[in-house]
Each structure stands twice: as C-alpha cells, then as structure tokens.
Amino acid sequence: MSTGVVSRRFPRLQKTMRSWAGGWMRVGTQTQFYGDTIRAIGAAFVHYRIEIVRLIAQLGLGTGALAVVGGTVVIVGFLTLTTGALVAVQGYNQFAQVGTEALTGFASAYFNVRLIAPLTAGIALAATIGAGATAQLGAMRINEEIDALEVMGIRAVAYLASTRVIAGIVVVGPLYSVAMLMSFLAARFGTTAIYGQSTGVYDHYFNTFLNPTDMVWSFVLAVSMASVIMLVHTYYGFTASGGPAGVGEAVGRAVRASLVVSAVVVLLLSLAVYGQSGNFNLSG
C-alpha cells in the first residue's frame, strides 16, 4: 500500500532558495578552508619543516613527465620568453609605423614589468605548480589517504595545504626572476638580432625607463598571485570527489577559478599601487 506524501509548498521557490544557499555555503566553506590554511602556516613551520623543503624541490622542478621537459622553471621561462618576444614583434612593428622604433626598449621596460610578465607568470604558475598540487591532493583524497593522515593524528590541512602554500611562495621568487629575465632577453633579442636595431639604442631606452620601484611591485604582484593560486588549488584538490574523473574535473575547476582570481588580484593591486597618477614620468 502506498502512502501519499504531501507535496512541499512552493517547490520551485524552495529549489531556487536551496541552490542559492548552496552557493553561499560553498563560499563559506572555501573561506573557512583558506582561514584554516593560513592559520596553520605557523604549525606547518614548526612541525613539518622537512615536508616544506621536499615540496619546494618538487614544485620548483616538477614531477613525472613534467620533470622530463625540464620542470616548472623551463615552462615558466618558455611562456614568458614567447610573450617577451611579442613585445619585439608587435611593439617594434607598430612603433616603426610612426617612425619611433627606437622606443621598443622602453616598451619592454614598461609593459613587461607592469603588464605582460605578471599576467603570463600567473598563467604559468596556475598551470604548473597549481594544477600539480590539485592533481596530487585530489588523488590523495580519492584514495582516502587524507582520511588516513587524519586518523594517524597528522594535521592534514597543515601538512598538505599550508606546506604547499609556503612552498609556492618560496618557489615564486626564483621562478619570477627567471620569468623577468626571459621576457627582457626575448624582447631584446627579437628587436636587436632579428629586426636589426642597434643594441646601444635599445639598451639606452631600456635602461632609462626601467624603474626599480616598478620591479619591486612586480615581484609583490607575483608573490601575492602565487599565494592565492596555491590556496585555490589546494582547496579544490582537498575537496575533490567522484573517482578518477573527479580529480580531473577538480583540476579544471581549480585552473578556471585561480586564473580569474589571480587576474583580479593583479588588477586590484595594480590599481592600488599605480593609482590615478600612474607613477610614471616620461621626462624623468
């Protein structure tokens, strides 16, 4: 005998409200995870120093098939190399249209530092150390290794997430130096060796307009990007579910989220740092 179930009132409204509440719930749990991770950074420094060192080596050089092609360093270097060369290709040719191709060195010193290198490095970091972290943590979650860690009394957030955030911040310094050097070298090589500008002209305008303060801010951008990227990626890895395909989807969602978040972080920081005046003086 079947008993009738009273249908709920306003089913559509309830469904909408529940999905709304679910969205807010997700925001809340993410924020809580980020809070936990940041709070556990101290504990990670005290208890899991060896793990941090191991992760720094792993993030810097990459694992598995990525290590074969040279690891994170080579990938970051390659991506910024191509975007630096873009400055030469588009900058030189567009400046040559109005007869001011001498200013290509200036374009390299200005656009690479403020715009191109931070954005490209953010993309490269999300793809390499970020996606790698999500894939690792997601596989651990699916294999119930994270639960096993907690059963053994190891603080999983501190041991897995906080250590990765620290390692990411440590690794980004040298990585971003490589990125900067590569983008400068590529722009210089393209302009002087391929388009045939004299190196003296290029270096003069490059050195005149290369602003050390801007460089420092550029590094600040890179470090803040690395920290938000690692936070986002560890969250998605930590909460992966749904078997092998679930790990892959978590990586995809994490890459999407971290690209958007890091772009927004770069934008807001740039607006805050350079502001209305722009901190740029043509006449020195």
């Binding site: 975007t83 873009l86 892959g248």
Partner: protein, 255 residues
C-alpha cells in the same frame, strides 16, 4: 649509463600524439559524423567556459587599458586609448583569454572524461564492437573545442572592448567619442579575421592535446590527475608557441 626509458618515453608520446592528430584529421570528413556528440560537447564546453571567460576578459582588458592609458595621458594623447584597447584586445587578449579558459575548463574535463573511460576500458570495448573511438569520441570533441573557441573569442573581444571603454571613460576621463573613433585606426578587418583564425588554431591544439592525454592515460586516479595536469601545461605551452608564430605572421600580413 643513460636510462633509455627516459629518452624513449617522451619521443614515443610525441609520436603517438602526431599519429592520433593525423588519424583525427583523416577521420573528420568520414561518415557517419557524430553529430549528437559534437553538439553535446560544444554545448558542454560553451557552458563551462562562458562565465569564466567573461570574468577573465574583464580584468585582463581593464589592466591593459589602465597601463596603456597611464602612458598616453603622460604623452597627452589620451584620445588614442581606444586604439590601444582595440589593438591589444583583438590581436592578443581575445584569442588568448578564450583559449586559457577553453583549455582550463573544457579541455581538462574532456581529458578527465576520456581518461576515466580509458581506465574503465570502455575504449577497448568500443573497439571490440567495431566502433572507432577516434571517430566516435575524439573527432567531435576536437571540433567542438575549435568551434567554441572561435565563437567565444568574438564574445571576449566585444566584452573586453566594452569593459575598456567604460573604464577609460568613467575612471580615466577619456572622451567617449575619441575612444570609439580611435578603435579602428590600426585595427582592421584583417586583424579581426586573423584573431578568429588564431582562436580556432588554439582550440584545435587544446582539443587534440586533451584527447591524446585522455586516451593514453594509465595508473588509476593519480594517473588521470597527472594527465589533466599535463594537459593544462602542454596546452598553455602550445598556445603561447602558436601565438608568437601566428602574431609574427599576422604582423607581416597586416602592416
């Protein structure tokens, strides 16, 4: 002694990738074309990519316009800010942002989906039933990624220029008429067409890499995770490599 494994394995994957790409290109005109799978995949890629693409396009173009306008205002040429916004968005940001998201969202899901099927030996089952997985699964996915990348890149360009317009006009006090008038000074039809071709090439590369990584996966959940990670890295590398070549050709063609 050099481990021959370390040398042979990447070579073998490169060879496998080209073999699969060739198979895919040969199979594209062959009937029956998997329409249903193609439409479903296109819808899927568009659905997961649309919102992140727009959310990524806005900060990128606003940052470009902001940096460029600082320079122009210093020169006293703020009226040309539309020129820079249009040129940067059409030639670089449009195709790149699109494919970052198509690769990050669509290609990863494709790779995860195909990888899970490979692990569950569904692809072998298809082969046993006489269905070619390349024709049934890979071709529609690759075409869907290409198609959606082209379609999305035009949306990105529109949204980007609109965002740049509002930022320039309302935050940096550029004259709206001058912004709109300056847009077409160095950006013409040829640039737009090349930009769409670029987006199509990027989408094709992303789809091929994702499918290859998906059908050649091995080693359980960790294997799928690594395959997806490699998909992201390789598509981004391929994207930037293709971009510099295509931009060089485009500059020669349009100037």
């Amino acid at each position: 002694m050099i481990r021959s494994d370390a040398v042979v394995k990447p070579m073998r994957s490169i060879g496998g990738f080209f073999a699969m790409s060739l198979d895919t290109l040969v199979q594209i005109p062959r009937k029956p074309f998997a329409w249903r799978e193609f439409l479903y995949q296109s819808w899927f890629v568009a659905r997961v990519s649309l919102l992140p693409t727009l959310m990524l396009a806005l900060p990128f173009t606003v940052l470009l316009v902001f940096t460029f306008n600082i320079l122009l205002i210093e020169f006293g040429a703020a009226d040309y800010s539309g020129t820079g916004a249009a040129y940067g968005t059409v030639t670089q940001l449009g195709p790149i942002v699109t494919v970052l998201v198509v690769a990050g969202a669509g290609a990863t899901s494709m790779c995860a989906d195909l990888g899970a099927r490979t692990i569950r030996e569904e692809l072998d089952a298809l082969r046993v039933m006489g269905i070619d997985p390349i024709q049934a699964l890979v071709v529609p996915r690759v075409l869907a990624a290409t198609f959606v990348a082209v379609m999305l890149s035009s949306v990105v360009i529109l949204v980007g220029i609109t965002g740049g317009f509002f930022f320039s006009v309302f935050v940096q006090h550029v004259t709206p008429g001058a912004f709109v008038g300056g847009m077409t000074i160095i950006t013409g039809l040829a640039d737009v067409i090349i930009s769409l071709i670029k987006a199509g090439l990027f989408g094709l590369a992303a789809g091929l890499i994702a499918c290859y990584k998906g059908i050649s996966v091995g080693g359980g959940p960790a294997g799928v995770g690594n395959a997806v990670n490699e998909t992201v890295v390789y598509t981004f590398v391929a994207l930037f490599a293709i971009n510099i070549l295509a931009s060089t050709v485009a500059v020669q063609a349009t100037l």
